[in-house]
Amino acid sequence: MKKQLLPVIAFALASVALGTGIALSQSPAVAAETATPTQTDPMQFARGAKAWANNCSRCHNMRDPKELRDDQWRAAMMHMRVRAGLTAAETEDILKFLQGSN
């Protein structure tokens, strides 16, 4: 039993440690982009439109931004970040595009 527990704990700890390490070492641009999403970035809408067009249609038909409210898009995009392997920055860009287009 103990030998089975070790790889699971090691996996979880390594994930958290790796995640924390990368979070601390990520570039200032990414850190700023993910940490302060409320800051105005004039290019974010354009980046979001491009990321939306490139990623969403890889699996399903493009959904109209008007289908959901701003708050619903927040949860939907977190779900899609997991599904599509998006980065936090790409997710934030697409979210801003959808919220600005609905």
Partner: protein, 422 residues
Amino acid sequence: MKTTPRPNLSGALWLLILLSASPVFAQSHADRIDELEAKTLAMAEELAILRAELEKERQAPDSEDMRSIRSESVAARQAAQNAEIAASEWKNSDSVTHLAGYASADYVSPENGNAAFVANFNPMFHFQYKDRILWEAEIEVEIEENGDTSMGLEYSTIDLFLNNNMVLLAGKFLSPVGNFRQNIHPSWINKLPSAPPGFGHDGAAPLAEVGVQLRGGFKIGEQSRMTYAGFIGNGPKLEGEDGEIHGIDTDGFTGDPDDEKVFGGRVSLLPLPKLELAVSGAFGDAAVVENDGVDFEGDPTRDYKVFGVDASYQWNNLDLRGEFIRQDIANEATSIAPEGGVWETWYLQGAYKFADAKWEGVARYTDYTSPHPDKSQEQWALGVNYLLAPSAMLKFAYESNTGLAGESTDDDRWLVQIAYGY
């Protein structure tokens, strides 16, 4: 010598002294002082009156108009503040809930057998805390042939967003081996009413896993990117029947009878934004835990491995994708079902939207091979879809199936489905 005569100043000084002492000058100065004193007194009285009036005004109650104006002003200011708070709080609250999912209604008409209507729906729940935690779950609700309603937990994970590139999932998740099961199978996404043979229960593709998973993605330069997923889970169970392995049950279990974990994952590369090439797999041990429909204990463990490759490409209205998956169970001489086996399937699918992207034609070829001939199936599926909305499709399809003669896998079928993702 010429001398300048000096003016006589002493005379003028005396004259000034005399004038200042005269009664006329003294009288004028006194009058001026009296006049100033009078004015000062008058101003003091006037100031006292004004102060009294001001104090009276302060202590007096507001007039009706003034009170009305003041209360309207306060109410308007409060309403503006409330509106501002209300407008921002549902957008920016720490916690967000979202109900999503999909539903479908089908009509299936096999070559041999009775045509029937089918219905199911899959609600999905998203509960998010800030940008750090997401709990997501999907329940599958189906009506059985006998009228019973079956319900299953497709997945339920707590996702921790560690940083820009990593998410840690814990719970029951869809298997990241391959792409169809984890991303394409929802009815509003799948372009045909049915899953390719081998991607269902007891097939070649693993369905779900219970454990922990780390996944995410990276950008590579301006255009390219990669995604990854790695997991540890309890692994599958084997079902024995008549001394053979009937199938590999990969529904995802909270128990682990063989006491051996399964490790696996998937890595995909997107050299172009809409071209994805992926390889995936898993390895571990499995054991027979059910024999002839009865729970069975003590069967020895044996090697289990799965390997898959998948690819997809989109160009304008064209959508191409394909996938290969193979599951292997090793032989185990001391088992109640000694012989192992290989479950293998692959499919290629092409779809094209036309008529202002309202209509879509689909073709898919699948070849599924099972150790049991009655399960193996080769299939051509052709379909036409009408897009009612971006997330709603009306599908018409025909399947040409080739399987063991007399088995349902050999029956051609007509299928109609309406699917809606919400």
